[in-house]
Structure formats: C-alpha cells, structure tokens
C-alpha cells in the first residue's frame, strides 16, 4: 500500500516552538493578579495529626489563603485517570489535603500568597503537632499481622486479583522440570524534563474554574477534579498546553484539585508548580513488586503450568494499584501459551509515596521476571532462547489472553531474526554456562562480555478493560486547508504529528495544509481518554481518520455535483479531486471548499466522530543487549542495544524510532542505575534529586539500533498499532540475561549495581 504522507518522517508539528524555546508551558504562564501556591508536606512517613495552628501563617502580610483538611470538601476521591469501566477498580481514599500523614511528603496544608517567598514563609509559620506512628516502608512490615493500619481498612493488604485457567497443580505434576524464582523490582521515577505537578487555576465570576495543566488526560482530569471539588463537569475547564514529558506520571490528577481549591477560595488565579524534589516526593512513580514465578515445562520446551504470585507495593494511597494489578496479570498470562495458568496479585499499602503509571504499566516489571526465568529454562533444556520463545508465544489468529481477542498481526519472528543478526547473536553469544568460552578484554581478562535478549508484547490501548473513547472534528476551510479539532494529549511523544499525518492522508490534502489543535481544551474538543496505554495513534488515529473520512465523503459529494460525475468515481489526493477514469476532469479541494462556503449551499464541510476503536492489536518486540562486565569493579557497561519492534504501520518512522531510543534509555536506567530509595526506618527519601537519582546521560548511552517491523493491523488507522511504551519493556531483561551470559550469575533484583555484581562475584569465588 502506498501513501502520500503516512510512512513519511515529516517534521513534527511542534518542532519549531520546541527547538527554539518559544513553546509556552503551563509553568511559563502569568495571569494578572496571579498568586503562588505552596504545599506543606509531612516530614513523617506515618503520623496522626494532633493539631494544626495556621493563625500565624494567615496573619502574614501577602498571604491570601491557608488551607488544611478542615477546609477541603469531604469527598473522597481517587487520582487515577480511568474512565468508569469494567477494569477500573477505584478505591476512593484521598482528600485534597490529608487528615493523616501517610508518607514523607503527604500534603497537609496549602497556602496561596502574593509571591513565592511569602508562600514559603507562610508554610514555616504553620504549626503542626504530630503523633508519629511506625513507618511501614517494606511489604513485609506492612503485611505483618500486627502492623498499624495506614487507612481505615481491615488490613494493609487491600486488594487481591486472582486469575485461574486450568489446574496449575496438575500442570506442575505433569512437568519434567519445575522452576521457581522470586524477583524484585524497585521504585523508579519517570523524571520528565518538566517536573510533574504544574497547574494554573483561575476562577471566573460564573462559578467556573479554568485550569491550565501539564497533563496527559484533559477530560479525565476534568472529571476527577470536578468530583473532588464537588463541582459539575461544566464548572471545570481543562486546558493542556505543551507538556514537557509525562511517561505516565501525569496519568490522572496530580495537583489540579489543590490549585483549584486555592484559586476558588482566593478568588484569584493560583499557580502551583512542584519542584523536582516535590515531583519525587509527592507524585506517582513505578510500582515496586515482589514476583514469585513458578513454571512447569516439558523437556521439549512446552509449558505445562505457569504461576505468578505478586505483592505490589502501591504506597500510601490506592490510586491505580488495584486496577493496575489486572494488567500485571494480563502481561504475564498473555506472553506465553500454557494450558494451566494461575495468578494472584496482592495490592498493599505502605508508607511510601503512592505509585501509579510509568511507561509500560507493569509490563517492564513482569517481563524482567518472566524473561529472566525463560533464559534459565532455555539453558537448562539446552534450547536456543530464540527458538524457545518462538515455540511458545501467541501468534496472529490466536486469542491473546490480555484482551480475549484474536491477534491481528504478528511480526515477532522477523523481529527475532533481524535483531539476532544485528547484534551478532550466533557469533558472539557464549553458549552454555561454563564461563571459559566468554570473551574477555581488559588487563588480564578482567572484563567479560555477554549477549542477552528479551521479548515482549504490549497493547494499543486498554480495551476491553477500559473504554477508549476518542473524538475528532475535521473542518475544511474555504481555501482548501483544514482544521483538526482533537483533544491533543501529546506530551512530547509526537502523537499530534502522527494524527495530523493520518488526517491529511485520509482527507487527501497536503500535510502542511492541515492544522491541528496543539492545545487541548475540554470546552472545545470532544471527550477523549488521553495519553495512556500507547493508545494515541491507534485509538485517536481511528477517530481522526473517521472524522476525515466523513469530511471527505461530503467533499466528494460536493465535487460530484460540480463535476457532474458520481462521487464514487472521484479520487482526492494532495489537494486535488479528479475523475478516476478521466483525470482531465479535475478540481482543487480549494475550489470545492470555496463553492461549499460561498456557492448555492452555504455550508462548511465538517466531519465529526466520537467512537471507540474496534480492537486492541498487540505489538511485539525482541530486544538484544551486549554488555561488558568489569569483574574487578562490578560495573556493567552496555555496549550495544538492538531493539526490533513490530509496531504495525509506522505513521512517522523517525518519531517511532525516537520513541524506542528514548525508552531504551529509561530501560537501561531501570536495569542498572535507577532506584528511588528511602530510609527504611523513617521513610525519608534518600535521593529525591537528579544528583543521586541516576538517570543516564547522553554520554552513557550505547549505540541503539532500532529495527522497525511493520506487520499491519486490521483495525488500526492505515495498519498502525503502537509504540509509546514498548521500547523499555524488554530492556532490563535483555541486559540481565546478557550479564548472565558474561559472568554466569543470575540477578533477580534490579538495579544490577556494581556493588551487587562485585558481591556476587566474591560470593561465587568463596563458595
């Protein structure tokens, strides 16, 4: 299939404003009489609030509003950005300000003042008496029978998500080998360049509040904010300017309700901008999970039973966690075929900052565990790891257990073949676990090299677990150009560009002639779920394509009248309409649009649609890593990553590759350097800053080779599937497996730090 603009790496619609620094983000905005908001945060991980005295703060000149729990609506809410859906389990355990300190950083009071200095001074003047309770910082302590209860619930274990397919006990009995391993993955932060938590709220005289916010989901944030404030949907307007990265951190409400409440009480606009430290301290990050995997397998590599028991540390508030337990089960059970599968996922409260969405939504955690164990199983059975995976993964036409729907297309085999060739799999890999054949470099052979791989599948939306509604309007202007009105929740990934390409392609006009609403505004665009679950191009793309198709149909009807030819005989491409069997009979789209506006009809050609996409086609990827382990320092250096991804049709290949490259950077950090840590006794964070929380820099990055495999979907726009999250899902597993290949040691806990590697090498030497 050949397209005019789909499949082209056209410049991004926001390239000029971003690279020139002229894009105006929420935090750049200034309104007349704008106040500055600040939040007072608990220094204790777990404490009752005995008393709060705000009188000194209130009497400080320049302070306009001081709020505590007493001033908040007594409406419990949940910050997770989910539409009401079968898979959304929304435990409402939050208030705009807390009645009890449940983590270090929990918002206890808020102020709005004429400037930042005054606001900070006011925070210092608020006097709070706490009764400090034991800080439950680990799963073990939170789950202990005698543990203090973090919420008014029976136990700190507040959710159980079971899945049973067949009979795993029978399956284990029928196995030739049973493998059982426990893996642990830490808390990591999204570290978007624009710190998470920026909102500017402005009340008006009609009882409405407008909130400019750095969000991924304008409509769902409108819904949750209105609920938390006790307002109608119509009283809240959300505007999303450019967003400096999100990666899931803005998947729901962040600080919009606090900003709005301050603004409503003050009767003036309030800017509430979190610092980097606050973004670490008080916004959602990736769930730490303890996962026990039990797998029964026949000698020929067929699974007889697969079991996952996971304990999910959701932190101090439920937010996403009980719903998140569903996809965690889904990623696990849908990766490999087995007649017997059992999953038990438990959601647990601890006194850490609440966890939520981070690119991959549980899949990087699960894939690290599953693919580490698969590597061990393949080695034990003496089967090539690639063959082992190809034998057991679900293929096109088979039912994918994540969604329960048939898989539309599968490019995994091609990903495996091309990826293996690019990394040098058959030449460079050290087969077996002997250790003698390992490539060594450095003085006296102190550095050892190895290759590893990991495979993954991911979604193109969250159906049928969640609704995936999108809406789009395409209107053709009198000069033949067009506007696309869409709730554009592009937060840097480039989806706005891809959607513009899709609309232009379907409509048949040049890419440059179509203008999209770069800013999302809930007063303007139709209801859209937002950016989550890698859905924008698939789900949003279908709506955009649908709206363009309706507009095109009307355009062709008008042209048919003008050309006196049946509409079905007309073609429109690149801004020109002609008769398919007689190209000399032609009109420009501009001529048709002009006639529509100002001819006998007097109408603008508009196509509008609101719909859910038909499916949820999974994507596949195989990632390969080559590492060098310094056996004297324990440092793991990644020499090369090959990321072979089946994304369906790549609407904008450069943007797709950019998504994968950026994700791999986060994946390497997850594998080797990133961990948000706290003192286990007090719960105080140890590294809420970019000096001690180690994201990788450009000079740390190895060459990353991306390979795009385009197994087109049936239901996606022009065959597109997804790419937003999948780039980091298999990276940590590939690296852990490469480390095993290099030194023969299995790391079941991330990150694989030099300290851990060296300790493991010494332990092996001694034993």
């Amino acid at each position: 299939m050949s397209y005019s603009v789909v499949g082209q790496s056209v410049p991004r619609v926001d390239a000029r404003e971003k690279v020139s620094g002229s894009a105006i983000y929420t935090g750049d905005m200034v309104l007349p009489h704008m106040l500055v908001g600040k939040v007072l945060r608990s220094p204790h991980a777990h404490a009752k609030i005995i008393s709060i005295d705000t009188s000194k703060a209130r009497s400080l000149p320049g302070v306009k509003v001081v709020l505590t729990y007493e001033d908040t609506p007594k409406i419990p809410w949940n910050s997770a950005g989910f539409p009401p859906s079968p898979g959304a389990i929304l435990v409402e355990d939050q208030y705009i300000l807390s009645d009890k300190a449940r983590y270090v950083g929990d918002g206890i009071a808020a102020v709005a003042a004429v400037d930042e200095d005054t606001a900070i001074r006011a925070l210092d003047l608020i006097e709070i008496e706490y009764e400090v309770l034991p800080a439950l910082m680990t799963l073990e302590r939170a789950m202990a029978a005698e543990a203090h209860l973090i919420h008014d619930a029976e136990k700190n274990i507040y959710g159980h998500t079971p899945v049973v397919i067949g009979d795993v006990e029978a399956g284990f009995a029928a196995a030739d080998y049973v493998f059982e391993d426990t893996y642990y993955v830490p808390k990591v932060n999204q570290v978007s360049m624009e710190p998470c938590g920026v909102a500017l709220a402005a009340p008006d005289r009609d009882g409405r509040v407008t909130i400019w916010t750095s969000t991924q989901m304008p409509h769902l944030v409108r819904r949750i904010t209105a609920h938390a404030l006790g307002l109608n949907i119509g009283q809240v307007r959300i505007i999303k300017p450019p967003v400096g990265g999100a990666f899931g951190s803005r998947l729901g409400v962040v600080n919009e309700p606090i900003a709005a409440l301050l603004a409503l009480k003050a009767g003036k606009p309030v800017m509430l901008k979190y610092t980097r430290e606050e973004a670490f301290l008080a916004t959602e990050s990736r769930h730490p999970i303890s996962m026990t995997l039990k797998t029964g397998v026949k000698k020929d590599g067929t699974f007889t039973a697969r079991q996952l028991t996971s304990y999910i540390d959701g932190g101090a508030y439920a937010t996403h966690t009980p719903s998140f337990a569903g996809p965690v089960a889904g990623w696990f059970l849908a990766m490999y075929k087995s007649p017997n599968i059992k999953v038990d996922n438990y959601s647990i409260y601890t006194n850490a900052t609440q966890c939520g969405a981070f690119r991959g939504y549980g899949n990087p955690q699960v894939v690290f565990a599953v693919e580490s164990q698969m590597d061990d199983i393949a080695r034990k059975l003496g089967i090539d790891p690639l063959e082992f995976r190809l034998k057991n993964h679900p293929c096109a036409g088979e039912v994918w257990l994540w969604s329960g729907w048939a898989i539309e297309s599968c490019g995994l085999e091609e990903c495996m073949a091309k990826g293996a060739k690019a990394i040098g799999w058959s030449e460079k890999r050290n087969e077996g676990a002997g250790g003698n054949s390992r490539v060594t470099t450095g003085a006296a052979g102190t550095k050892k090299r190895g290759l590893g791989m990991g495979y993954m599948m991911h979604v193109s939306g969250a159906r049928p677990m969640l609704h995936e509604t999108s809406a789009a309007i395409v209107k053709i202007n009198e000069d033949g150009g067009a506007n696309l009105i869409y709730s554009n929740s592009d937060c840097g990934q480039g989806s706005g560009t891809a959607l513009t390409q899709i609309a232009a392609e379907e409509l048949g006009i040049p890419y440059e002639d179509l203008v999209m609403t770069k800013t999302a505004d809930t007063d303007v665009s139709g209801f859209d779920i937002g950016s989550h679950a890698s859905r924008q191009v698939y789900s949003g793309g279908n709506a955009v394509k649908g709206a363009a198709a309706v507009a095109k149909q009307k355009l062709l009807a008008m042209a048919a009248e003008m050309l006196q030819t049946p509409a079905e005989e007309l073609v429109v491409e690149e801004g020109q309409v002609w008769v398919s069997h007689d190209p000399s009979k032609t009109l420009s789209v501009a001529e048709v649009a002009h006639a529509a506006h100002f001819g006998s009809h007097g109408h603008q050609i508009i196509g509008a649609i609101s719909e859910e996409p038909a499916g949820n086609p999974p994507v596949y990827a195989a990632q390969f890593a080559e590492v060098e382990v310094d056996t004297e320092t324990g440092v793991v250096e990644v020499l090369k990553v090959v990321a072979a991804h089946d994304v369906g049709t790549a609407i904008n290949p450069a943007a797709v590759e950019g998504q994968i490259q950026g994700a791999v950077q986060q994946g390497i950090g997850y594998a080797l350097t990133e961990e948000y840590r706290c003192d286990l006794e007090t719960g105080r964070p140890l590294n809420p800053n970019l000096a001690d929380y180690k994201i990788l820099t450009s000079v740390d990055m190895p060459p990353v080779e991306t390979i795009l495999v385009q197994a087109a979907s049936e239901t996606g726009p022009f065959g597109a599937k997804s790419v937003g999250e999948s780039g980091l899902v298999a990276t940590a597993a590939a690296i852990a497996n490469a480390v095993y290949d290099a030194i023969g040691i299995r790391f079941k806990e991330l990150p694989i730090t030099p300290e851990k590697v060296l300790a493991a090498l010494h332990e092996r030497k001694e034993s």
């Binding site: 970019l690 001690d692 180690k694 000079v699 300290e755 060296l758």
Partner: protein, 288 residues
C-alpha cells in the same frame, strides 16, 4: 525562611573585614554551585553572604616557567583552557573535565572546589599530588598552607573566620613524571565520585626504578588523603605486578570510607585497591 544579608565588597581587604565581622554567620560566595544548593536545602546557621565575584585580583593564571599560580576565583572552565596548565598539569584538566557538567564548570571556581572541602572533589584531589600551596589572606595578614594540611574534616578547613583563599600555586613536576586521574561513579557525566584516585609517578632517570610516587584518594575518608605508606612502598623500586598490587593493598588499608546513599563502605574500600592499581599501571605504562 530566614533573613539574609548580602554584600559585594570592592576589594580583598573589604571582603576580609566583612567576613571577620560576620564570623561564623558569614559565608563567602564564589561560583555558588555548592552554596546556593545548600541555601535551598533549608535554614543554615549563617545569614550573611559576601559575594567575592567582583574581586578581579583573585582571577587569572600566571606562570613563571617553574611555578604556576591560579587565582581562587578562576573558573574551572578557564583553567581547563589554559595552555600552561594543559602542558604541565594535564591531569588537573582531566579531573576538571569530570567535574559536574559544562554548565557547572562555567560557574564553579577553583577556590570554591577547595574551600567546599568535599572529600569527593575532583579538581581538589589533583592539587594533593601536585603538592599545591594555598595562599590565604585574613585579618592577621597573609599565609601559605600546603594543601595536604588544609582540610580538617568534611566541609571543614583550617580557614579562620575572615580568611579567604586567594590563590593556588604549584611547581612543575620533575621531567617525565606521569599522572593519572581515575574517577569511579555510576555514570559517565553529572557524577559525584564514589571513589577518585590521582597518582603521579616520577621515574629515576636512566633506570627502571620509580624515584617517587604520589597517590591521593577521595570520597573514602573524612578528608581527601595522601597515601604515604603506599607511596613509600613504590619509591626506588622496580615495577612489577606484585609491587603495584602491594601498593594497592596498602592504599586499601589506609582508607576509612562510610556507607551512604551513593555506595557502601565495603565497595569503596575495594575500589580504592582496584583503582589505585589501575591508575599506577596506567601511569607507569608498559614501555619503560
């Protein structure tokens, strides 16, 4: 939030006078890359800032053919670009290249790197092996202190209230001396050393002997250390793998690291051995 007083003295004596009057409540501001971070971290026991940036007499580099003098207010990036520093003190440039980020190096000063007295400082470590002398001006007049006597603890120096570090001077090391700086961190940029090591080896002319070795390590004790025993073990010796290993073991024995968010004491201790050995191997080379 606390009150803060701020001065911009016009000359060195005025700065000394302001700082002596403030006593423990005063802090000099040079590049500000450490001071401003500390100010943001919350209330301190000081409330007066004396900005030294206007003191042009503390900026610049002079070389007389034997001794180089670097003004304390010289920016790290300016020192890196100086051709005399590059020629005679190349590992100072190497260490400077690993300090923070380009933006930080464009603001941070040489004097600030020393006076902040971080046990992990990169540039300051190299001054130890070049045996730099520090020029200090204070209310009682000027004095010179060898850099190895400058530190008294983490963030602590011999500077008395009112005293200002004005310059660093170093002699060109003996001919054919070879230095190496090794920094060990979790990433290759924007990094604070878990351990850093600087060595300088001077060969005995016409022999295969080491005449003299200097070894300094950082981030593994309350101050940066010169490792005298390890140095002594190398002097007047023929280099073999065993000799270097022995020196590295002596280095490991001499340090006293701590556990913190960045690493563990045990790991740092091992790294002192590995990195000292590697630095010595690299400095000696294979070809002598």
């Amino acid at each position: 939030m606390q009150e803060l007083n701020y001065w911009e003295p016009g000359n060195l004596l005025e700065a000394v006078s302001l700082l002596s009057n403030l006593g423990e409540k005063g802090r000099p501001l040079a590049g500000g890359t450490d001071l401003l971070v500390k100010m943001k971290q919350g209330p301190a026991n000081w409330n007066g800032i004396v900005n030294l940036k206007g003191l042009t007499e503390l900026k610049g580099i002079a070389f007389d053919g034997q001794t180089i003098t670097i003004g304390a207010l010289t920016r790290v990036s300016d020192m890196m670009a100086d051709s005399w520093v590059g020629l005679h003190f190349p590992i100072l440039v190497e260490a400077a290249r690993s300090l923070g980020t380009p933006q930080i190096r464009n603001i941070a000063t040489i004097g600030g790197n020393l006076c902040n007295a971080s046990p992990a400082a990169d540039v300051a470590l190299v001054f130890l092996i070049y045996e730099a002398r520090l020029h200090i001006m204070g209310p009682k007049g000027a004095r010179k202190v060898p850099v190895q006597e400058f530190y008294t603890g983490p963030g602590q120096t011999v500077l008395e209230p009112g005293e200002i570090l004005t310059a660093v001077e170093m002699d060109v090391p003996p001919l054919n001396s070879k230095g190496v700086f090794v920094k060990h961190g979790k990433r290759k940029s924007h990094e604070i050393a878990l351990v850093n090591v600087a060595v300088l080896i001077t060969p005995q002319p016409g022999t295969k002997l080491i005449a003299r070795a200097r070894i300094a390590v950082g981030a593994v004790a309350s101050t940066q250390l010169r490792l005298r025993e390890a140095e002594e073990s190398l002097s007047q010796t023929v280099v073999t793998a065993d000799v270097l290993e022995r020196a590295a073991e002596l280095a490991e024995a001499a340090v006293n690291p701590i556990d913190d968010v960045r690493s563990t004491a045990a790991y740092r201790r091992q790294m002192v051995r590995v990195l000292t050995k590697r630095a010595l191997q690299k400095a000696w080379g294979g070809e002598r």
